[in-house]
């Protein structure tokens, strides 16, 4: 049984130490932190299927505190979910209040020791990434200890042992597995220093991570220690940057891969070229059986992830493409590629005009991986499940996104941006809606910024999405009036009118009369220094909210939302 008062005692101890240190007015003692809350009051709204929790009012709140004194640092985070906002977090349920995170860190010459909770990443995260995306509800913080050592300039070593955070019930709950790992990285330019005369750099790194989980399964012999290793290489010149990382995981039968004993592999390749006014990037990924969670029976794909597999697709900022059809990595099997170009036509040139024009083009595509399921007869002893050809795509295209954005300042007061996207989206695989047909959508967005005066301006967006599948056509209009430096007022309406006709082909088959719904929402905000207050009121449609590589479903809601953030 966890001691309920352990967390508050720690926080109180930190606060007492901080007060003590400050009153002695010693140079170098710092106490800083932040506070953030999102609170919502829910109205019923059966037209949109709005979710209304029985408490009617929900609030997420966090307060972080960090005390630093010379080579010593300690911190804690208090969290409160009474109850959490609907649909939050992405994985296992949170409830109650308490200390969710606490640590102490000491630096002794080139060795840094952290005890308690910590976040860490090896390479790009293919075998290990512990991180938080607070507004999504992703937090797989480690609880244990971590060492970082720099034995020589340019050589970086890391090691850790710990358990991962699973959920929060008046305090963090931990997953059953124990995770440990080491990482080494050598940056040649830094190591050789004055002996290295070129402006290039070569960085080589390797990591090894393994997890331990007891096997009490009555039907299978499960491996209790499962390890994954990765090697990476990064070559940089002033114009080029080439990166590659390969990871291999031994047998890891888990709930997401049907308890098969096949090995897992991941490969990331990326090359970028950039010079003044021009940038280009090309990348390719292949993942096969790379779910790596510290509980093999983890309930959702968001819990206890040891690694992080980023989707190779552009993260859109406009509402319709970002929250309706975003791509999510398929860790069990995916081959994907992306290419991007950024160019600025300088002012004074023909295409540049008076102020310059910026163009960005992006193409990304993802396929399943070429697999052959092993028949029961071939697979009785090893239980490998399937054979796959690594880096060979299957016939099934999961996702394709072609988009182009042109941004141009027309005069001192006017700026416009026009974006076009063409999206192919296998909603069956990506959002787990079996039987639904692939979505083909065209999206156009016009964004404009007009400055009335030096301090007051209006930004507007008009977005249109047309498709004959899923929810049909959408139109969005948004206007945001800003009064620098403190105020803003915004209004947005999203209209799902489905089709230009009287009927709508739902699921590509059935004709139904379109149910045309508006989702209006208004916001007001006030910002001063490190504080920000925002109030929204209106209808929020269901959607997918992505930050980085993780997406979570947000249910439809109607009501008042208040957000307050402060950094001190």
């Amino acid at each position: 049984m966890r001691n309920r008062w352990a967390g508050p005692r720690v926080a109180l101890a930190i606060a007492a130490t901080a007060t003590g240190l400050l009153t002695h007015a010693q140079q170098g003692t710092q106490v800083h932190g932040n506070f953030s809350t999102d609170a919502q009051y829910y109205n019923t709204d059966s037209a949109i299927g709005a979710v209304v929790p029985p408490q009617r009012f929900a609030a997420n709140a966090w307060a972080n505190l960090i005390v630093t004194h010379g080579n010593f640092e300690a911190g804690a985070r208090l969290e409160s979910y009474n109850p959490p906002l609907a649909g939050y977090p992405a994985g296992q349920a949170y409830r109650g209040s308490g200390v969710g995170y606490r640590y102490a860190k000491f630096t002794v010459s080139d060795l840094e020791i952290t005890v308690g909770n910590f976040f860490e990443q090896f390479g790009q995260g293919l075998v290990f990434r512990s991180y938080e995306e607070r507004y999504l509800g992703v937090d797989n913080a480690m609880d244990g200890f971590r060492l970082r050592y720099k034995p020589h300039r340019g050589v970086y070593l890391k090691g850790f042992v710990g358990q991962q955070r699973l959920a929060f019930i008046n305090g963090p709950t931990l997953g059953p597995g124990i995770v440990r790992g080491i990482d080494a990285e050598v940056s040649l330019a830094e190591v050789l220093d004055s002996a290295w005369t070129s402006a290039n750099n070569l960085i080589i790194g390797g990591s090894f991570v393994s997890k331990y989980q007891e096997d009490r399964d009555p039907m299978l012999v499960l491996p209790e220690n499962v390890g994954a290793g990765a090697v990476r290489l990064n070559f940089t010149t002033p114009k080029w940057n080439v990166y590659t990382e390969y990871a291999h995981k031994i047998n890891d039968p888990n709930g997401k891969n049907g308890f098969v004993y096949k090995d897992g592999q991941a490969l990331m390749l990326n090359a970028t070229y950039s010079t003044r006014g021009f940038g280009a990037s090309v990348g390719a990924h292949s993942f096969d059986n790379m779910f790596f969670q510290s509980d093999r029976a983890a309930a959702t794909p968001f819990d206890l992830n040891i690694n992080f597999l980023p989707p190779l697709a552009r993260q859109h900022t406009y509402n319709l493409p970002a929250t309706l059809y975003p791509y999510a990595t398929q860790p069990n099997g995916e081959v994907s590629a992306q290419g991007e170009l950024f160019h600025t036509f300088r002012k004074g040139t023909k295409l540049g005009g008076k102020y310059g024009t910026k163009v960005a083009v992006n193409y990304s595509v993802a396929y399943g991986i070429d697999t052959v399921r092993l028949g029961a007869a071939d697979d009785t002893t090893r239980r490998l499940g399937y054979r796959s050809r690594f880096f060979t795509p299957s016939d099934r295209m999961y996702f394709q996104d072609m988009n182009i954005e042109v941004r141009k300042k027309l005069s001192a007061d006017w700026e416009l941006a026009l974006t076009y996207l063409n999206v192919t989206y296998d909603i069956d695989i990506i959002q787990g809606k079996p039987g639904k047909p692939k979505v083909y959508a065209d999206i156009v967005v016009l964004e404009g910024l007009h400055k009335f005066t030096d301090r007051n301006s209006v930004r507007f967006e008009v977005q249109h999405l047309s498709t004959r599948q899923d929810q049909g056509n959408w139109a969005t209009a948004l206007a945001e009036f800003t009064f620098s430096p403190h105020w803003f007022v915004a209004a947005m309406d999203q209209y799902n009118y489905m089709t230009f006709g009287d009927t709508f082909l739902q699921d590509g088959k059935t004709e139904v009369k379109p149910e045309r719904l508006h989702y209006p929402i208004g916001s007001v905000g006030y910002i001063k220094g490190g504080n920000r207050f925002q109030v929204n009121y209106g209808r929020q449609r269901a959607g997918i909210f992505c930050v980085g590589g993780v997406c979570r479903q947000v249910p439809a809601a109607n009501g008042l939302t208040v957000s307050i953030t402060s950094t001190f």
Binding site: V31, F119, Q124, G125, E340, T344, G529, G530
Partner: protein, 165 residues
């Protein structure tokens, strides 16, 4: 539990308000893969430094950096200020930071904070978030959010920091 929470919070707000912050020592990456200690950010020959947190997926962040880019040369000539843009793009979009920055023709010093270590150490909640350090490396001003025209307020603070050296 709740009273403890509010007591602590209240006590620490007052405490925190009295201390001048400094940039903590955190390891971030430069665009060529070298690791850099953020302690060195404050070193600008006694001139002010702006630390701006952004990401390639944050539209207001990009607007802010683009708006400042138009005036940056001017600001540098008058005050010697340096802008350090710390990108919190993670593994998903880290690769596009360099081509984007160059494609935009920006002159800032850009660093990568892919796992949010510096963001957490400076208690940043969401981006864009800007810190201004004076010539002595103390944080004298911070601002969250961006609206067109905010760069003017920032410049006023830079002038103050440069003047009150």
């Amino acid at each position: 539990m709740k009273t403890l929470f509010s007591m602590l919070f209240g006590a620490l707000l007052t405490l925190g308000a009295s201390a001048q912050g400094r940039v903590p020592s955190v390891i971030v990456q430069s665009l060529d893969g070298r690791k850099v200690d953020t302690k060195t950010f404050a070193e600008n020959n006694g001139k002010p430094v702006i630390i701006n947190f952004w990401a390639t997926w944050c539209a207001p962040c990009k607007r802010e950096l683009a708006a400042i880019a138009d005036k940056y040369a001017d600001w540098q000539a008058k005050t010697g200020v340096k802008l350090i843009a710390v990108s919190i793009d993670d593994a998903r979009s880290m690769a596009r930071v360099a081509p984007y920055v160059n494609g935009q023709d920006w002159d800032y010093e850009v660093y990568l904070d892919p796992n949010g270590d510096l963001k957490r150490a400076l208690n940043v909640n969401n981006i864009p978030h800007t810190f201004l350090l004076n010539g002595k490396g103390e944080i004298v001003y911070q601002h969250n959010n961006y609206e067109p025209g905010d760069e003017n307020e920032l410049y006023q603070k830079v002038l103050q920091a440069a003047g009150a050296k």
